[in-house]
Amino acid sequence: MTILTEAVARLLLAPSLMVAAAILIKGYVDVGDGFAAAVVVSLAIALQYLAFGARRAEQELPVLRFAPQTAIVGLLVALSSGFFAVISGGAPFTHEPSVGARVVRIGRLELMTAVSFDFGIFLLIAGALVALIHHLAEPPELEPDLEEDAEAAR
């Protein structure tokens, strides 16, 4: 890739993450949600992979290696915010705190199950997409790796 793409990729990363955060947070009063935010994040990361190649991108942003784990944590967050109401006898996906109850706020963001659910979705989608990009950018060398793993398993 050219110097220009590298420079653009480097410059665009931080603003894209900001935009994603904005989309995620304002989703409860305006257009936006976790899914869209996650897609923006993964687009920004895809650009990094394109510009620097898989190895260098992951050297510079080591957090990318934890994409699968992020996705699964996200799924569990979403599942638990959907189903924790069941413990207290409510139906699954009950909105907590219920209508009219006092809500904890951080700035203008109201903390409720819809937010934590959406945050879980954000992590899930972002993690899954980055894992996919990683897989497509650098297809795993299957055979030697598998043998190593099999030995480790024993």
């Binding site: 899914f35 996919l132 897989h135 497509l136 297809p139 299957l142």
Partner: protein
């Protein structure tokens, strides 16, 4: 309006089906993406209503149908997951066969089947001979 949507969905489905039948695996995946998008279009068309935003409908105006949005979004996400899966399979095909052609894939499979049949053939013949001897 429904007719426009129906025509668009049909056209997209047609293009998708055409791409699925081509020889290039990446095009096959692209065809599946198109087909999934045509399904999303049908979902949107299934509940076209005009009205107020369906959040706490208090005014006199009828709210629009929110369900369609939810369904379309879910269908898009599932389409995304499926595309990812297909791309992953195609990447593995490329890693093992060093080719992205459906024909290559079919040829490889045919060879494999022929190999298996050949390896079974002598064994079976031997068995038949054994059986004939036994009968005598």
């Amino acid at each position: 309006m429904t007719l426009v949507f129906a025509l668009a969905a049909a056209t997209i489905f047609g293009f998708g089906a055409y791409l699925v039948l081509t020889n290039d695996l990446v095009r096959v995946v692209a065809g599946m993406v198109l087909i999934s998008q045509s399904a999303v279009l049908v979902v949107i068309a299934s509940g076209l209503t005009r009205g107020a935003a369906p959040i706490l409908p208090t005014g006199d105006e009828r709210p629009s149908d929110a369900l369609v949005q939810a369904m379309a979004l879910t269908a898009i996400v599932i389409g995304l997951a499926v595309t990812a899966l297909l791309l992953a399979i195609v990447a593995r095909v490329r890693a093992t066969l060093h080719s992205l052609e459906v024909r290559e894939l079919a040829r490889d499979e045919a060879e494999h089947t022929a190999e298996i049949e050949q390896s079974q053939e002598p064994q079976l013949e031997e068995l038949d001979r054994d059986e004939a001897e036994d009968e005598q």
